[in-house]
Each structure stands twice: as structure tokens, then as C-alpha cells.
């Protein structure tokens, strides 16, 4: 191998990656750092004089509606974490500690809710669980009481917990699965057993995984705009921010104050997760270890376990069921089931909502492309070059995680309403391309992780082999690295695509005309009127199909890529 002289900023071997790094940094600064900074500046600015002030925050906490919204958001997020935990705990425990036949159902449970954005099912859930919904009608008729599942904040909590519990399930299962049996066996041979063993060994070892999952759920619920909006619960922070900006206007400081609070809470939750995980690499499984300690269930235990799993499955599938019924039903109100069934809503959607679908495919496709291009570039720059400050790119891209969609939307409106699109007489803030960029920025952290994972599967020695045979850096990247990363990059593309297709919170702020709107916005618009619910639900089903297909395809791609990589002897 030759040792390259790495002298001078513009040395030939480094010029390409450096130029690329600078371009990406500019893009991220322009479309992530600047808009968010703008939001912070406006929040701390006196609206009339422009000087630094805390008066906006004082005003915020003086207004009872905002105080109430603040506590409601906090309350809803916390209770959602609790409810999601109650759903996730038994499931994680069954799969990781027992030889349980229902494990496949549980794994499915871990994905099914995620393929439908919570706001899509929200309205349909009211028809199943609302005060005049199917369940309560049945309860009232047979047992003489009703349960306020969907009243006010309860509805948000219910819908969000069902949707987000998989994050806890996945993280907790992984943590439990990482506890080597010798951890428990050594405690057993020292005289511990049963609940004491669980409390002293298993529980503390799985705690970091649990906290990581719980903090994700907290952030997601705290930031979510679509669900409360569709359930018409407006006294929470994200809806308030949206309503202030869309009704009072972009100069009203309250939207910015709320944005700052949302970002701070996101950061806080991430910090808690970081603290929980720091220095606690409790993954104890290892070579020579025995893997998990699992035992068989007794018949009675099995019965109870299946009952719990099937009950949770029914609850988790209820939004899908309700949405399906709504999309095929004629009139559905004050009755257990719709009066009759029809295909009319689908016909309407296909005849009038073609633009929504076309826009969705275009926006999500473009956003996902941007994501994997930038994601691959950052992965390569950060992990395979020695460019100074390369880590900054990584942090910059990852920081998008702490920026809720509403905040990004508000930031874009404020930053880009003065920039006109070249050759067109409209501000960038109102141009459809800005939606694409917002989607790309929002999904970038996930796509980038996928690309980094893919790159880490490509051994450095493969690159060195190519270089020692005389290939230059660019050639090596093109002919060796990228082809080997294809599986991971594709998976990143598909996940980005599928989730961008149903993103509402940033989109809703940036859509300036219905002709430019994607499916998520269309669903929101349809669901506003009683007559639009049927077509809205049909559109929702369409969105679910898109996301489900995307998830399926990306899983297949990852599996294929893993099989292929399993054949190469050198992996990390």
C-alpha cells in the first residue's frame, strides 16, 4: 500500500470528499440550523422593537390556555408512556423468558401499529370507542355502563399508546434478549430465585433499554400534531403552535415560544435516554455463554399468556379495523356497525384524489433520494475519511431528531417567506419543493443510520485490496463500496419513503394550495367534514398500503443483504 501525502486543504486525494462535505454542511445549515435558530431568535425577540426579551415566555405562562396546553401535553405524554409500558411489558416478558408459541404474533404486534400513522386511525377510533361508538353502545346495552375511552385527552392517550408501544416493546425485548443466562444462573447458584432474582438482576439489567424506548414514546407523543388535531383536541402544545401560526399569522411570537418548549422537551427526553444508557452497555450475551434463559410455560400460564396477547392484538388492530369499516361503510353513526357497505368512497378517492397520490409519490420519492444520497455521503465522510470536523456533519444530521415537525414547519415559513424561488414569483416557503426538503430533513437521521450500518458491513480491507490493485479512491467507492452498500441504502430509501409518505406535522404547515398537497394532508382535509370521512378513510387505507408495502420491501431487502453478507468471511 502506498501512503498518501495528506498535505494542504486542497490536496488531490481529499478534494472530492471535502467539497462534498462542505456542500452537505451548507445544505444542513440552510435547511435545518438556520430555520431552527430563527425560531429561537423570534421567541426571544420583542415583536415590536426586535430586542432580546423574555416577555414572550412570560406572556405564554400568563395565558391560562397555554398553561393548560403545557400541562395537557405533559400529562398526555407521560400517561401514554405508562399505558404503552403496560401493553409492552408482558409482551416483552413472554417472548424473552419463555418458550412461547405466540412469539410470532408478538413480533407482528411490534410492527403492525407502526405501519399506520396515528392520525389516520384517530377518527375511525372514535366510531369504535367514542361515547356513541360500537364498543360503548354494546357495553351500554349489555352491561349498562360506558367507558370514556375517547373523551378529550383520553382519546389522544389511547390512540398514541396503541401506536407507539412498539418502541418500548422493541427496546425492552432487545435489552432482555441481551441478558446472558449466566447472569441469572450465577444468582441462582448463590441462592437467589423467583421475584428476588427478577428484581435484583433481570429488572436493573433491562432498565436502560426500557428507558430508551420510553423516552422515544414521550418525545413522539409530545411533538405529535396530527392526532390531537384530528381528534379536535386543541388544548395541547403542538396544535396551539399550529393554530397560532395558521390563524394569527407568522409574526405572532406564541408559536415560536411553543416551538422552543417543544425542542427543549425533546432534548430533555433524549438527554434522559442518554443518561440511562451512558456507561451501561449491559449487553452480556457472549461467546461461550448460554444465550437466554427460557423456560416452558405450564398449561394455565400458557392460557393466560395467550389471552393477554390476543386481547392486546385485538386492541392494536382496532384502528385498522375501524378505518377499514369506515372506508367501506355508507353511514356509520350511533350504531355498532355501518348501515351498509359500498365501494363509493374508493371510487371517489381515485377520481378526485389523484393529485394527492401523485404528490405523495413525488415528494416522498424525492425526499428519500435526497436522504440516501446525503446519508451515504455523510456515512463515508465520517467513517472512512480523516477530514477535520467530519463528526459535525453527523451531529448536525442527527440533531434533526430533536426538531419536531411543527417547529421545522414554522422555521421554514419564517425563514423562507422572503426568499423568492428563482424564475417564479412565489416565496420559497410556499413552493412545493420546500415540503420535499422538510420531509428529507425530518427523515435524514433514520436514513443515515441505515447507510452507516450498511457501510460498517463493508470491511475496510475490501477497500484496501482495491486500492492496492491500483484503483483510485473515487473508483474504489464507485466500484466496491457503493455496490456492497446497495442493500442497506435501498432499505434506508424505502423506510424514508414510507414514513415521509404519511408525515403530517411539517407538511400541514407548508402546504399552500390543495393542488400541492400530499395524502396526509388530504386525509386531514377529508376528515374535517362528516361527509368526507368515508373518502378520508379510503385514502387512509391507501396510505397504509403504501407504508405496509414499503416496510415489507425494506425488510426483504435487509434480509437479502444480510444473507449476502453472511457469505463474506470478514464482517464486523
Amino acid at each position: 500500500m502506498t501512503v498518501k501525502a495528506s498535505s494542504g486543504f486542497l490536496s488531490r486525494s481529499n478534494f472530492g470528499p471535502k467539497a462534498l462535505a462542505i456542500l452537505i454542511a451548507l445544505f444542513l445549515i440552510m435547511f435545518l440550523a438556520v430555520p431552527v435558530a430563527k425560531v429561537f431568535i423570534v421567541a426571544f425577540q420583542d415583536p415590536s422593537t426586535g430586542s432580546f426579551t423574555l416577555i414572550n415566555f412570560v406572556d405564554f405562562f400568563k395565558t391560562s390556555l397555554f398553561r393548560e396546553s403545557f400541562w395537557n401535553s405533559f400529562y398526555v405524554s407521560s400517561v401514554s408512556v405508562v399505558v404503552a409500558s403496560i401493553i409492552a411489558l408482558p409482551l416483552a416478558y413472554f417472548t424473552s423468558r419463555f418458550n412461547f408459541g405466540g412469539t410470532v404474533i408478538i413480533q407482528t404486534l411490534g410492527i403492525v401499529p407502526l405501519i399506520m400513522p396515528p392520525f389516520v386511525g384517530a377518527v375511525a377510533m372514535q366510531l369504535l370507542f367514542g361515547s356513541n361508538g360500537s364498543v360503548n353502545l354494546l357495553l351500554d346495552e349489555h352491561l349498562g355502563f360506558t367507558i370514556p375511552f375517547m373523551e378529550g385527552l383520553n382519546g389522544v392517550i389511547f390512540v398514541q399508546s396503541i401506536h407507539y408501544f412498539p418502541f418500548i416493546l422493541i427496546n425492552l425485548s432487545a435489552a432482555l434478549a441481551n441478558i446472558d443466562r449466566s447472569m441469572e444462573e450465577s444468582a441462582l447458584s448463590l441462592g437467589s430465585n423467583g421475584m428476588r432474582l427478577f428484581r435484583r438482576i433481570v429488572f436493573p439489567l433491562s432498565m436502560p433499554g426500557y428507558v430508551a424506548g420510553a423516552s422515544i414514546v414521550f418525545i413522539k407523543v409530545f411533538d405529535d400534531l396530527g392526532t390531537p388535531l384530528l381528534l379536535n383536541v386543541n388544548n395541547m402544545l403542538a396544535p396551539q403552535a399550529y393554530l397560532r401560526i395558521s390563524s394569527v399569522g407568522i409574526s405572532d411570537p406564541m408559536g415560536y415560544v411553543i416551538s422552543v418548549i417543544l425542542v427543549i422537551f425533546s432534548l430533555f427526553a433524549m438527554w434522559v435516554a442518554f443518561l440511562a444508557l451512558r456507561g451501561k452497555d449491559y449487553a452480556t450475551t457472549q461467546k461461550g455463554g448460554g444465550g437466554l434463559m427460557k423456560r416452558d410455560m405450564k398449561p394455565a400460564e400458557k392460557f393466560i399468556a395467550y389471552a393477554i396477547v390476543l386481547f392486546i392484538l385485538a386492541v392494536v388492530l382496532s384502528p385498522h379495523l375501524a378505518l377499514g369499516l369506515l372506508s367501506f361503510g355508507t353511514i356509520w353513526s350511533y350504531s355498532v356497525l355501518p348501515d351498509a357497505y359500498t365501494l363509493e368512497h374508493y371510487a371517489e378517492v381515485f377520481s378526485s384524489a389523484g393529485d394527492f397520490i401523485k404528490n405523495t409519490l413525488l415528494y416522498a420519492g424525492m425526499a428519500a433520494t435526497i436522504d440516501v444520497v446525503i446519508g451515504t455521503a455523510i456515512a463515508y465522510i465520517v467513517w472512512r475519511t480523516k477530514i477535520k470536523g467530519r463528526k459535525i456533519l453527523d451531529y448536525l444530521a442527527m440533531s434533526a431528531l430533536a426538531v419536531p415537525g411543527v417547529v421545522l414547519g414554522i422555521g421554514y415559513l419564517r425563514t423562507f417567506y422572503q426568499f423568492d424561488v428563482p424564475f417564479k414569483d412565489i416565496p420559497l416557503a410556499n413552493y412545493w419543493l420546500i415540503i420535499v426538503i422538510a420531509l428529507a430533513i425530518r427523515r435524514l437521521p433514520y436514513a443515515m443510520r441505515a447507510c452507516v450500518a450498511a457501510l460498517q458491513q463493508v470491511s475496510v480491507s475490501l477497500e484496501e485490496a482495491s486500492e492496492s490493485l491500483g484503483a483510485r479512491k473515487m473508483t474504489t467507492v464507485k466500484r466496491i463500496v457503493i455496490p456492497l452498500m446497495t442493500g442497506g441504502i435501498l432499505a434506508g430509501f424505502v423506510t424514508s419513503f414510507a414514513t415521509a409518505a404519511v408525515e403530517l406535522s411539517a407538511t400541514i404547515m407548508l402546504v399552500s394550495s390543495e393542488a400541492d398537497a400530499p395524502i396526509a394532508y388530504g386525509i386531514y382535509v377529508f376528515m374535517q367534514s362528516a361527509a368526507g370521512r368515508g373518502p378520508g378513510a379510503a385514502l387512509g387505507i391507501l396510505a397504509v398500503v403504501i407504508v405496509a408495502l414499503g416496510t415489507y420491501v425494506s425488510n426483504r431487502i435487509i434480509q437479502k443483504a444480510n444473507q449476502k453478507n453472511a457469505m463474506s468471511p470478514d464482517q464486523h
Binding site: E185, G191, S192, P204, L205, G279, K280, Y282
Partner: protein, 356 residues
């Protein structure tokens, strides 16, 4: 820490164990004396860990009987056996300090907290790591973790100590030091100990007696010297050290193998036989040697040689059979060239004949 009064012998009778339909242990019989240092030696997958885990109460229920100090323990759960087990991976709990790890077993036994403090200190002293008491396992080196795992086990004064490949995760130098320390500790405590290893040097240097396992069956039990000098079957002969093993049969007072390989032997055995001879009992000579009352002589030809430092190992082809011969090496000795004709001397009283 004082001499362990509760140390116990182990008696295993006709033990069998299966994972599902695969039989992993078959007809195991074993008597281990109180205070003995005993090893299980065998290749990977031979069932050593499974046997050890059965004694400590883990894994599928075995058939047959296991008695510790005369008490039948099959059917008793692990936490009631008072058997100390040190895991190959050490299995220190990462969420507890070293002190907490070591105190765990005493806490489970509801020992008073003042006594716990004293006993934990003593145990940490014994392994020489008292100064690390307030660290967490992640901050310790492999060797230190190993000592803590030992301290955590012996602090509860178990009836027997079981060690599953305790040295396999350490580097070579530390391994030698650690095995001496373990032996010294065992002698000090007088604690019946079973040590599992696939490394014959480890087993030879540390054990009072050992059992060689293969395919879930105990092949032979004895002191290291007995097993080396008097292997009872081909597996033990080839697993311990290096041996020339030639397949043949006894005909008219001679051992006869393929291709006219024939040497006279005195034996009561008949029929199919293995002839076993260690390389150090074979010498080569470049000048002709004839049979004498000490050794037989065969003509051969050097196939290849390996320089090992203390010795040079020659492979000599004689009558179609490759025979290894070790010659001790002194400074300046020259190595016999490949292809050179030589005479191979085999010491008569070092020949071992085994039934096939």
C-alpha cells in the same frame, strides 16, 4: 478465611442427560473425594459443561443420581444446592459494584450486614483486590474480573467449587499465574473443586485426578501421570500428548501391520491391536543399529522435520508407516536432511498395546 468445614465429596452414579432427543451424557460414574482438585478434560462439545451444569442444577433434568456430601441433589433447584459455580464469562453483574457483587450471595442468605462487610473484605483480600471494591465490573481487566468471580463464589462457603473453563478468556501469561493462584486458594480452603478445561497442560498441572470425556462418555479417570502413561483406549492415548498409533494385529508373537510392518512383542493380547509409542521413546540414528535387548530397530527414511526448540520432531517413513521421533536439541546440533536414510530405534518397554 478458614478451612472450609462443610466441604463435601461428590458421587455420581449412572448419570444420563439429553437435550430433546440428543443424548449428551451417557452412563457417567464418578467419585470425587472431599478436598480433591478434580478436572474434566475433553475436546469442545464432549459434554464437560453439561456435566458441570448438571451438578450445579442447571440444564435439563438428568437421569441417575448426583450426591453431594452424601445428599441426593437431583431434583433440588440450583439455589438450594449451595454449590459454587464460576462461569466461563465470569458473569459479574454490570449494574452492581464489585462489593455488591461479592455481597450478593450473603445477602440472599440473610447474613447480618456487619458480618457481610467483614466476609466480603476477607474474600476480596484473599484474591488480592480489596482496593477495587467500589469499582464496577466494566472497569476491571479480564484477570481481575476472574478473581472477583472467584471471590463472589467462595465468600458464601459453598460445599464444592465448580469452575467452567475459567482461564479460557485470559491471555497466556496470566493463565499460568491464575492457575497457580487457583490451586493455592483451593489448597488453602480445602474446597472440593471441579475444573473444566479442554487444555491438557492446564489439567495436568493443576489436578489431583482428572476424567477424560469424549462424546458424553467418561473415557478414563486417574492422575495425570496414570492417564499419560497408561491410557486405556486410543482416544485417551491420542488426546493426551502426541503418540504414534499403529493399527495392526498380533500374529505368532509379532505385532503385524499393513505393508510388512512387523515387530516382535511379548503380550497376552490377541487379535486386532493398536500399538502406541510416544515420540520421545523413538530415536533415530544415521548409522546402522541392530536390535538389542533395549530396543527394536527399523530402517526408514526422513519425510520431514519440525524444529520445535527443545526438540526436533522427525517423521520417518518405515515400511509404509510414518513414525514420529523426537530428538532433544542442543546448541549446534544439525538437523538431519529430508530423504536421508536412517535407523529408527523403538524402546521395548515403552511400547503400549491396546485392544481395538
Amino acid at each position: 478465611m478458614t478451612q472450609n468445614k462443610s466441604t463435601a465429596g461428590i458421587s455420581i452414579k449412572n448419570l444420563g442427560l439429553s437435550f430433546g432427543t440428543t443424548e449428551v451424557l451417557k452412563g457417567v460414574n464418578l467419585e470425587i473425594e472431599p478436598g480433591e482438585f478434580f478436572s474434566f478434560l475433553g475436546p469442545s462439545g464432549s459434554g464437560k459443561s453439561t456435566l458441570l451444569r448438571a451438578i450445579s442444577g442447571f440444564g435439563p433434568d438428568p437421569t441417575g443420581s448426583i450426591k453431594i456430601g452424601g445428599e441426593e441433589v437431583t431434583g433440588l433447584p440450583a439455589w438450594q444446592r449451595n454449590v459454587g459455580m464460576v462461569f466461563q464469562s465470569y458473569a459479574l453483574w454490570p449494574h452492581m459494584t464489585i462489593r455488591k457483587n461479592v455481597a450478593f450471595g450473603l445477602e440472599e442468605r440473610k447474613v447480618s450486614s456487619t458480618e457481610i462487610d467483614g466476609r466480603v473484605d476477607d474474600a476480596l483480600d484473599l484474591v488480592g483486590l480489596k482496593h477495587l471494591a467500589d469499582r464496577t465490573p466494566g472497569q476491571l481487566s479480564g484477570g481481575q474480573q476472574q478473581r472477583i468471580a472467584l471471590a463472589r463464589t467462595i465468600v458464601v462457603e459453598p460445599r464444592v467449587l465448580l469452575l467452567d473453563e475459567p482461564l479460557s478468556n485470559l491471555d497466556a501469561n496470566l493463565r499460568v499465574q491464575m492457575r497457580r493462584d487457583i490451586l493455592a486458594l483451593q489448597r488453602e480452603l480445602g474446597l472440593t473443586t471441579i475444573f473444566v478445561t479442554h487444555d491438557q497442560e492446564e489439567a495436568n498441572t493443576i489436578s489431583d485426578r482428572m476424567a477424560v470425556l469424549d462424546k458424553g462418555i467418561i473415557q478414563q479417570i486417574g492422575t495425570p501421570v496414570e492417564l499419560y502413561d497408561q491410557p486405556q483406549n486410543r482416544f485417551v492415548a491420542s488426546f493426551l500428548g502426541t503418540a504414534n498409533i499403529i493399527e495392526g494385529s498380533i500374529t505368532e508373537g509379532h505385532f503385524v501391520a499393513e505393508k510388512d510392518f512387523k515387530i516382535p512383542v511379548k503380550t497376552d493380547l490377541t487379535g486386532n491391536i493398536y500399538l502406541v509409542i510416544r515420540p520421545q521413546s523413538v530415536t533415530i540414528s544415521e548409522t546402522e543399529v541392530t536390535e538389542n535387548n533395549r530396543s527394536y530397530s527399523l530402517k526408514g527414511n526422513i519425510e520431514y522435520s519440525e524444529f520445535l526448540g527443545e526438540t526436533v520432531r522427525y517423521s520417518v517413513l518405515s515400511n509404509g508407516h510414518s513414525i514420529l521421533a523426537d530428538e532433544s536439541h542442543l546448541r549446534g546440533n544439525k538437523i538431519v536432511a529430508n530423504g536421508q536414510d536412517v535407523w529408527v530405534e523403538i524402546e521395548k518397554d515403552q511400547i503400549l498395546l491396546l485392544d481395538r
